[in-house]
């Protein structure tokens, strides 16, 4: 039965530099396999929607402008996404990836989390088609648990 077994630890770290990472002032890189924000490169996508079908949180919507010459806009809800990378695993054409350096995604308003990927022209068309209010919370087409995410009032 010893007294104060943590004494050596406690005195040791009193004289050593603390292990604290001074985060906002010195920023350590996340490992390169870290699953941060989803990034979509429109180049090779053929609109198969396999990623949308298997997303557990219906965070991705592929809005097709015209299927023949592969014009798509992907609307990505960063706040619904659970960063599990199942879509990256499903996509055989490797046009989805997870950015390992984008993880400081905190925001003060919910609207800032909806991101539209695609060429400017396509995005303009999509935003014009959907009225701005609808753009924030459209009913997702993915196979959500109750056939469509709960469209918030």
């Amino acid at each position: 039965m010893r007294f104060g077994t943590m004494l050596r630890d406690v005195w040791g770290s009193f004289f050593k530099k603390p292990v604290t990472q001074r985060y906002p002032f010195e920023r350590l890189e996340a490992p390169d396999q870290y699953r941060g924000k989803l990034v979509w490169t429109p180049g090779k996508c053929n609109g198969c929607c396999l990623c949308v079908k298997d997303c557990p949180a219906n965070a991705i919507e592929l809005l097709t402008i015209d299927k023949k010459n592969k014009q798509f806009v992907m609307r990505y809800h960063a706040d619904r996404c659970t960063y599990c990378a199942q879509c990256v695993q499903n996509c055989r054409l490797e046009c989805l990836g997870m950015a390992h350096d984008q993880w400081e995604t905190a925001g003060l308003k919910r609207e800032t989390f909806v991101v539209n990927y695609g060429s400017e022209a396509d995005i303009a068309i999509i935003l014009a088609k959907h009225s701005p209010t609808d753009a924030a919370e459209p009913a997702a087409s993915g196979a959500g648990p109750s056939g469509g995410s709960t469209a918030t009032a």
């Binding site: 010893r2 007294f3 943590m6 630890d9 557990p56 659970t82 990378a85 199942q86 695993q89 648990p145």
Partner: protein
């Protein structure tokens, strides 16, 4: 431990007269169809011969045409599983309660009642188990045809009862928000001065309706839903689910994938035990140990983040394999981390077993004997700290546990100090197994082609999570959506033990006692009302309680 076939034959002989028909769907499983009236006789026969423990009770809705609900009583002994199948009509079916034989049956029966509408006769408490207080009566969420969203809309505010002074009992609420609880659960301790005379718990604060959601999503989406049943043992839930679905689809993951899964499972056990060491010491008031054990836990978290891409929900497994590969750089980082962890774990083992001030708060708290622990159906390190060697990785090795065997860690003291010791030794054992896996990592690719539609069938998948045995029952119907997914988590069986030991303890010892079983509320979101020991309602007379308290403090 007798071999599986011997156990199954013994069970078959015990149930000879009662069963209407037996079947062996898998080499280690025996199904016996029995009448509701013979249920008590069957369980008494098995319990009399001390055959195994009641793992769980699963309800399955056989649909509108069959107009029947099937209640499956799963009993496990080592690798052998006996399932007693009882069919009851869909409306107004009744099943006798086996609570007297298996104390933990009480939770499963109340769940059956609440989710399927099967009345269980002889059950003393029938208040809501999972569901929120205001849930409309008569709607049973797990029946196929119930419109759950409409029922959810009807749930109005559940104004919590003001726990005033009930008679002479002074109620101390440890509410859903309390610094001792990292997760919401509502406890009410009837306190007399510092002595706890009664304890009730209402847990359903984390009930999200996962089993119902599993039936509406395809198998791939369910993988990530089951992984988020509990954040600390996420890999265990995902793996138990994946093992079950792969068994149903008749697909075998490649040896390298299975070895990587076991590697991540062992890393998760270390991080979970270090997390628990800090939180349990903090409950007892030893903040320095929290700071130091969580500082050292960061080593394992960095290794996991570097290898899998996320610190907590690794999403390592995919149906049919693993997502990432363990490169030599990862292996090097793991070995370096494990050396540091081993050295620190030995130090914490020394602190936990010899520090006078710590032991004054840990020794002799919630003492339980081997028979009492076994009778109450305890699971995991809490059970092994009482002397019963029951570990699914040893009894029924799955995946790559055959190539990289694990030794079960057992202690006999049965009190809180023993639980600290068992968990630290399990962390050391995990470090040893990780090194053997890294040395013998088999070559081969990572994933195997997996059909999207799983052929019809049902299976049971057991997995040893850091807190105890995890029990998954999955039934498929040939489509890409499962028919039924039953999740039974280890913490639920340990609740009855905590509340039984809380009665008569000091109020200051209750938080460490709660933390002692490493409860994972989100794992079980169950609730029980138990302020009387197992054999019926026992009102402790004041004299009895005083004697119990004096003997308790004199030790």
């Amino acid at each position: 431990m007798m071999s599986t076939d011997v156990a199954l034959q013994q069970a078959e002989s015990l149930l000879a007269g009662l069963g209407k028909g037996t079947a062996k769907p898998e080499p280690n499983r025996l199904d016996v169809v029995i009448e509701a009236s013979d249920l008590i006789a069957a369980t008494t026969a098995l319990r009399g011969a001390r055959w195994g423990y009641l793992a769980t009770l699963t309800g399955v809705d056989l649909g509108k045409e069959a107009n029947q609900i099937e209640a499956l009583y799963h009993l496990c002994e080592g690798d052998a599983i006996v399932t007693l199948r009882v069919r009851v009509p869909r409306a107004g079916g009744a099943v006798p309660s086996v609570y007297a034989l298996h104390p933990n049956a009480m939770f499963f029966e109340r769940e059956l009642m609440e989710m399927f509408g099967v009345t269980v006769t002889g059950l003393s408490d029938t208040s809501h188990f999972f569901l929120p207080d205001g849930w409309p009566d008569g709607t049973y969420p797990l029946l196929k045809d119930t419109d759950v969203q409409a029922a959810a809309k009807q749930v109005k505010g559940s104004e919590p009862p003001e726990p005033g002074r009930q008679g002479d009992r002074f109620i101390v609420p440890v509410g859903p928000q309390h610094p001792a609880l990292k997760e919401p659960g509502h406890f009410e301790f009837a306190v007399d001065g510092e002595l706890v005379t009664g304890a009730t718990v209402r847990l359903g604060y984390v009930h999200r309706g996962i089993e119902r959601a599993c039936e509406q999503q395809n198998y791939t989406q369910n993988l990530y839903l089951t992984e988020r049943v509990c954040g600390i043992c996420s890999h265990s839930h995902a793996n138990a689910y994946v093992n079950g679905v792969e068994k149903l689809a008749g697909v075998q993951a490649t040896p390298r994938a299975q070895a990587i899964r076991q590697l991540v499972a062992c890393l998760e056990r270390i991080h979970s035990h270090y997390l628990w060491l800090g939180v349990a010491a903090y409950e007892a008031g030893f903040e320095t140990l929290l700071m130091y054990s969580w500082r050292d836990r960061e080593i394992v978290m960095d290794v996991l983040e570097q290898m899998t891409g996320n610190r907590v929900n690794y999403s390592a497994s995919v149906l049919g394999g693993v997502k990432f590969d363990v490169t030599s750089a990862h292996a090097q980082a793991i070995r370096h981390g494990m050396d540091k962890i081993e050295e620190r774990t030995r130090h914490y083992l020394h602190v936990v077993t010899s520090d006078t001030s710590f032991l004054s708060r840990a020794r002799g708290i919630g003492v339980t004997s081997k028979e009492e622990a076994d009778a109450m159906g305890l699971l995991g390190p809490t059970l092994r700290a009482a002397g019963v060697t029951r570990d699914v990785r040893v009894d029924a090795p799955y995946g790559s546990y055959k190539q990289f065997p694990v030794k079960a860690v057992v202690d006999s003291a049965g009190d809180l100090a023993a639980r600290f010791k068992v968990r630290m030794e399990e962390a050391l054992e995990s470090v040893r197994v990780i090194r053997t896996i890294l040395d013998g990592l088999p070559e081969g690719d990572l994933t195997v082609k997996m059909p999207r539609k799983i052929p019809a069938g049902e299976t049971i998948s057991r997995f040893e999570a850091p807190r105890g045995e995890l029990f998954y029952y999955i039934k498929s119907n040939g489509t890409d959506k499962p028919e039924r997914v039953k999740i039974r988590t280890p913490s639920i069986c340990n609740w009855i033990f905590v509340l039984k030991k809380a009665v008569g303890a000091q109020m200051a010892d209750v938080p460490p006692l709660l933390a002692g079983i490493d409860p994972c509320f989100s794992c079980n979101d169950r609730t029980i009302v138990i302020n009387r020991p197992r054999h019926g309602r026992q009102v402790l007379t004041w004299e009895e309680l005083r004697r119990q308290a004096i003997t308790h403090t004199r030790r």
